[in-house]
């Protein structure tokens, strides 16, 4: 009996329905302390004074950590991909978003930890925040990041993600109609039922065992090791069972801090975000601002596309350069457009840093592109199925990045969903296939982008 393709029961199904699946919050170790954080109450400002002594002296408190306790406070999650570090683990000298962590306390119980947080003395000099990425480029905008208000370390030290293919000026000149629109999908919460959590346990061998809800064990281990400046074998991450992630549990929000508190106190330390923290200060999906202008013929060919994207990264870079790049690779959607001009910017604002969420970069562009396609069909009086099918990816078509498509399935997917929806497609649409373009499906402007020799990789 074959397992692949079979509707076998979930491996962990019985565990889930008997309450026996062990999540991080279910791990029990003796002597465990609870962590609570002091967070910035302002959107942007300088920290003029920070005094944790009263908190440290509070009965039941075993450790307090600030930036001074972190061997390497500023470490970039994507340094390996060439994204320079810009974000401190614990705020140092300034805060750039409301909720940014300044200090964390480990105490005998949650109530004591909260009391101790109240005893930390901190003074700020507030500064004007920037919230609207459309205003980030204004000459008089507050400069909230040392690199300016947008990321400028793409390859070749470029300040944008750029794609150029063909001749978009020709396309716009030739077009019968140009249709422009602006698309703004919102920041939303990952909203896992299990909030951010980790439990760090100092072992007698000098190692640290970190029970973590991370979606990426080795990635988080690398982050902790880099901040602590220790080799990987000092750490053992235990996990693999997570109460929902959706992209929000890669940031390693608690692991390094519980590790620091465990080392400083000599006791196991657990930090479990409250739901308020999960809603208000944990990283979110990014808001996007996407402007598309398409050059169209009256019979429904897309000759060219010009796109400008602003990716609201919040206060720091995190994964935004990667997300914008992925967005750019897929900004033509499931269609073949030969003349392409894409500019995308990672823009900083004084809000919670944004991060990956299910579909990172492509969710936003799918919303923009598909709504735009519907709008075009409606404005030009085209059948929405015919319009999509004639522009749909086919074998031998190339993408904006010059990837040669070997086996796209736009056409059969459209046909399948139309049939299931009881929509009767015209005969010539029903018989379309993904085979390479020829005849009427290969107008002059699509000839040069077609690549039919099989490439070996």
């Amino acid at each position: 009996m074959k397992a692949v393709g079979a509707r076998l029961p979930r491996y962990d199904g019985v565990g889930h329905v008997t309450g026996q699946t062990t999540y991080v919050d279910d791990v029990r170790v003796a002597g465990m302390l609870w962590a609570k954080a002091l967070r910035s109450p302002i959107h942007r400002g300088d920290i003029m004074r920070l005094d944790t002594s009263k908190a440290e002296g509070h009965p039941g408190v075993h450790a307090v950590v600030t930036h001074a306790d972190v061997p390497k406070n500023v470490y970039g999650h994507l340094e390996a991909l060439g994204v320079p570090a810009d974000e401190p683990l614990l705020a140092e000298g300034e805060v750039r978003w409301k909720g940014q962590v300044i200090a964390v306390v480990a105490a005998e119980d949650e109530a004591t930890a909260r009391e101790a947080v109240e005893l930390i003395e901190v003074e700020f000099e507030e500064k004007e925040p920037l919230f609207d990425p459309r205003k980030a480029f204004d000459p008089d905008a507050p400069q909230i990041h040392p690199w300016g208000n947008w990321y400028n370390h793409f390859e070749g030290e470029m300040d944008r993600r750029q794609i150029r293919k063909g001749d978009v000026a020709w396309a716009f000149d030739q077009a019968d109609t140009i249709i422009q629109g602006v698309y703004r999908p919102a920041a939303i919460e990952h909203l896992p039922l299990e909030t951010q959590i980790s439990l760090s346990v100092p072992e007698s061998t000098g190692r640290l065992t970190i029970y973590s809800c991370t979606q990426a064990m080795y990635f988080s281990m690398g982050v902790v090791a880099a901040h602590l400046q220790v080799p990987l074998n000092r750490l053992k991450l235990v996990g693999g069972t997570v109460g929902g992630g959706f992209g929000g549990k890669v940031d390693s929000a608690t692991e390094t801090i519980t590790a620091l508190l465990a080392l400083k106190s000599g006791r196991p330390v657990k930090w479990r975000f409250t739901r308020e923290e999960e809603f208000l200060v944990s990283s979110t999906r990014a808001p996007w601002h996407i402007e598309i202008a398409d050059a169209l013929t009256d019979d429904g060919w897309i000759l060219g596309r010009k796109t400008l994207t602003l990716h609201d990264s919040g206060a720091y870079s995190r994964f935004s350069p990667y997300g914008l790049t992925k967005h750019s690779f897929h900004h033509l959607g499931a269609y073949t457009i030969p003349n392409v001009h894409f500019d995308g910017y990672v823009v900083y604002t004084n809000r919670v840093p944004t991060t990956a969420m299910r579909g990172f970069g492509v969710t936003s562009v799918s919303f923009a592109v598909e709504t735009h396609m519907s709008r075009i069909a409606d404005t030009l009086g085209l059948d929405p199925f015919e319009f999509r099918l004639k522009n749909a990816n086919r074998v031998g078509d190339t993408t904006a990045n010059r990837v040669v498509l070997q086996d796209p399935s736009t056409v059969p997917i459209v046909q399948a969903v139309a049939e299931a929806a009881g929509i009767e497609l015209a005969a010539e649409l029903r018989t379309m296939s993904s085979e390479p373009r020829t005849g009427d499906l290969l107008p002059e402007h699509l000839v040069s982008q077609q690549v039919l020799e099989k490439e070996s990789h």
């Binding site: 979930r10 962990d12 889930h16 329905v17 008997t18 309450g19 039922l193």
Partner: protein
């Protein structure tokens, strides 16, 4: 104070204003109800109090002194699953599993008073339970299956 927990009388030492959820998880070793929000908003802490589905995160211990508390641990075990547990497993109603304990107890509470609920009854009972993974479809199927209907 005392609780009858899954049929067994237990003495409880926690202070009177401790939430029932904290009493169960931190003192009594009952880990199935989860601290999903501690605001009463997600339902993952749901247990039965004298047979009625209630949010343990919102209940101070003193108000349930002497009550009968039923949790997932009292519904069955891996070798002997209760009807709602078996149905949830068969219908794939759990993905990450974090909301599952609350859903199970709410479903159990429903079926004890309404053994043949409609899909609307089920949706209404679970209306305040948040699941982020499943999209709810298989959860409704599971409750129907547990009630003896077709999933």
């Amino acid at each position: 104070m005392k609780l009858t927990l899954n049929g067994v009388e237990r003495d409880v030492e926690s202070p009177p204003l401790t939430s029932l959820l904290a009493v169960l998880r931190e003192e009594l070793g009952i880990l199935s109800p989860k601290a999903g929000c501690q605001q009463g908003g997600c339902g993952s802490c749901t247990v039965l109090v004298d047979g009625e589905a209630r949010r343990a995160c919102l209940i101070p211990l003193a108000s349930v002194d002497g009550a009968e508390i039923t949790t997932v641990e009292g519904l069955g075990s891996p070798d002997d699953l209760g009807r709602v547990q078996a149905a949830f497993n068969d219908a794939y109603a759990a993905q990450c599993g974090y909301c599952t304990s609350g859903m199970l107890m709410a479903a159990e509470g429903l079926l004890r008073t309404n053994p043949s609920p409609t899909r609307e009854d089920i949706q209404h009972t679970l209306g305040g339970h948040v699941c982020r993974c499943t999209g709810y479809v298989k959860i409704i199927d599971a409750v129907e299956l547990a009630a003896g209907g077709v999933a």
